[in-house]
Symmetry: C2
Subunit: 205 residues, 2 copies
DNA sequence: TCTGATTTCGGACTCGGTACAGTTTTCTGC
DNA sequence: GCAGAAAACTGTACCGAGTCCGAAATCAGA
């Protein structure tokens, strides 16, 4: 269905696009916290109530959860004989190897907004916390996670978040996409090496 | 100054105590999210505006930041010749060995409230995030942290948070303080071993 | 007791988010 | 093409956290 079916759906997607466009523009102009939902609704030419049917929260306007890597799922669906960490390492290396398909300009705008929104990290961490919990449960095969599962899940999620943050930070600071992309793969490899081999192998201090 | 100086100061401390008492009671009765600041003010017999001069946010009513372990400080002030991880391991083992001095009943009430407050983790993570950033900077000797410093800081903070969470979870679930306390030391030791030696040494999968 | 500084107070305000009833638009079956 | 069901949109009223302000009460020092 190349035309996405129905006029209703088409309109809806157009409205949705108008909202994100307006929001991103306002955020870029004045910063996340200085823009109100009422203003975004006005800029997108819809009512405030309607805005909340498209996006359940202000945060959801920039934190797209569609492109969602879910560590727990990756571990649960790993090929036989492969360790959880190996599966995760491979997945994220593949992810880093793939080209960025999204609109680079829009992505950069998002990154820039997120990079200097102080009140935004909390929401991201909430999402990360759920992923961590799920990963711990998966590592424990669904049972109540023991200490090792909890620790491993926490370390893995923390490492992934760290590498991601460094990637986006680099982009926001002006590093060309190609360079940041290259570095990303190397950093992912080191992150997983550190988890598997321990810090003793990787530090001199 | 055994009488803390001045009638004003005495009154202030009494009011502060009344607020925390009222808040903790209400939270325990109905849960964190179901209690409003207006209700707390009424229960403490002060005005809502005054309540906000004693506690700047609802969260601050239960998250006492006074007993504050700061990893960055611990690393920065470690004895010469000791590695950062060693310093942290020792500090947290000592912390676990020390008896709990605070009022056990009130502490348990706090823990119980926090354990089932869904909208509370965000604030805690914000604090944790600042600690993580500070630790990374300290590990990098104040310079812009490289990947290794970022990863180590993230893993350490994640591990500490995990062990703490398991401890409080156990208490909230009814584990006697003595048992939870014993387990705490063992879990801290394993957490730091895992960071130093890597997961390969500690898992069979 | 008078004066000046703090504290407290009530109330109005902002902003994110929810609830709802009523209207418009689109879809579907005839 | 039309009637009615379904969905989307709107305005408005509401809630709770948090801020701000002017006025009143309270305290400290002389």
């Amino acid at each position: 269905m190349p035309p996405p079916e129905g006029l209703r759906e088409r309109k809806r997607q157009r409205t949705r696009a108008a909202i994100t466009r307006a929001a991103l523009r306002l955020f870029a102009e004045r910063g996340y916290d200085a823009v109100t939902m009422t203003e975004i609704a006005a800029a997108a030419e819809i009512s405030r109530a309607t805005l909340f049917t498209y996006f359940p929260s202000k945060r959801s306007l920039i934190v797209d959860t569609e492109t969602d890597d879910d560590p727990a799922r990756i571990v649960a669906e790993r090929a036989g004989g492969r360790t959880p960490i190996d599966a995760l390492r491979r997945f994220y290396l593949d992810l880093a190897a793939a080209p960025i398909d999204a609109d680079a300009g829009e992505l950069m705008a998002r990154v820039a907004v997120i990079a200097e929104a102080p009140g935004l990290a909390a929401g991201l961490h909430h999402h990360a916390e759920e992923q961590r919990r799920a990963l711990a449960a998966t590592l424990a095969d669904g049972a109540e996670p023991d200490l090792l599962a909890d620790l491993l899940a926490a370390e893995i999620c923390a490492a992934i978040a760290t590498v991601k943050a460094r990637f986006f930070r680099a982009l926001a600071d002006g590093t060309p996409m190609a360079d940041a992309h290259d570095r990303l793969a190397a950093e992912i490899a080191l992150a997983f090496d550190l988890i598997e081999d321990g810090s003793r192998r990787h530090t001199t201090t």
